[in-house]
Symmetry: C2
Subunit: 179 residues, 2 copies
Amino acid sequence: MFLLQRLDNTKKKLKGQIANVLTLLNLSLGAFAILYTIQNQLQLALLFITIAAVFDRLDGAVARKLNSTSELGKQLDSLSDMISFGVAPALLIHQAILFEFGFAGAFFAIVFIVCGAIRLAKFNITEANGFFYGLPITAAGCILTIMTLLVAYIPEYVFMINTLILAFLMISPFKVKKM
Amino acid sequence: MFLLQRLDNTKKKLKGQIANVLTLLNLSLGAFAILYTIQNQLQLALLFITIAAVFDRLDGAVARKLNSTSELGKQLDSLSDMISFGVAPALLIHQAILFEFGFAGAFFAIVFIVCGAIRLAKFNITEANGFFYGLPITAAGCILTIMTLLVAYIPEYVFMINTLILAFLMISPFKVKKM
């Protein structure tokens, strides 16, 4: 009986860790994307952020499916989102186009990261009620990432404005229904 | 009377935001350090991480002094620490020396970031009792940053081992008294 209970506890713990492992994979993919950005392999960085977004959907789904959402998972999730959809896309767009604006380009990339952090911190202390407030950092980061594909077709200043708009949408108080 | 009360509330809110502004400055300095690392200006990156460490001490001190510690501040603090003392030092040591090991070097830098995230997530869900568990990410990140000054004097493999040791110390369960 005691052994069965221990086995059951171990199973529960393992189940609880599956979603966290997926979250840390998401974070690692974001970190790899940053390393590829440093090496100027921007296409690979774009690919890794995209895969990170898939893992981000997956870990939430797995946690709900296995009924293993946890406070630790929530914290890890926001740290991963910060890297994969805050820092990585901001650096990618900076290296793809914003660097042409010198300090102003760097400043705009950093405003995006700062607003992402504010969004995540606010989200973490808000009770879940089926709604998001402001544009989720995952969405903002993915839009910024996909925008880098358009660098050859759109005037440079559009990317500056777009980065700033996405940053402010993240900290705006409008409501979005959770999907 | 009503006006006085409103003024008092506004003062309290402003006081509460001072520490958060310092935290976001810490985060911005970390993000600048990453941008300098990308541009291979490693000395400047080192300088910015060092200044971020000063701001990190400052925001905690200010929050305690003004009696304005908050849950939002705690969340912002951990996101800032992730960038300034997790991602920035790992990228810096990668560009300074670990890149020579190819994929293995990138992998070690990412292990450092992942362990940093686990450390921060665990810390955020632990009740404060005057102790840290495991090496704080601020200390690990600063040691890694300072180590880059020794690149010309120490064999390459030492940096690999050092990065791994610091990563594991962050997720180790030993106790450290808070300073």
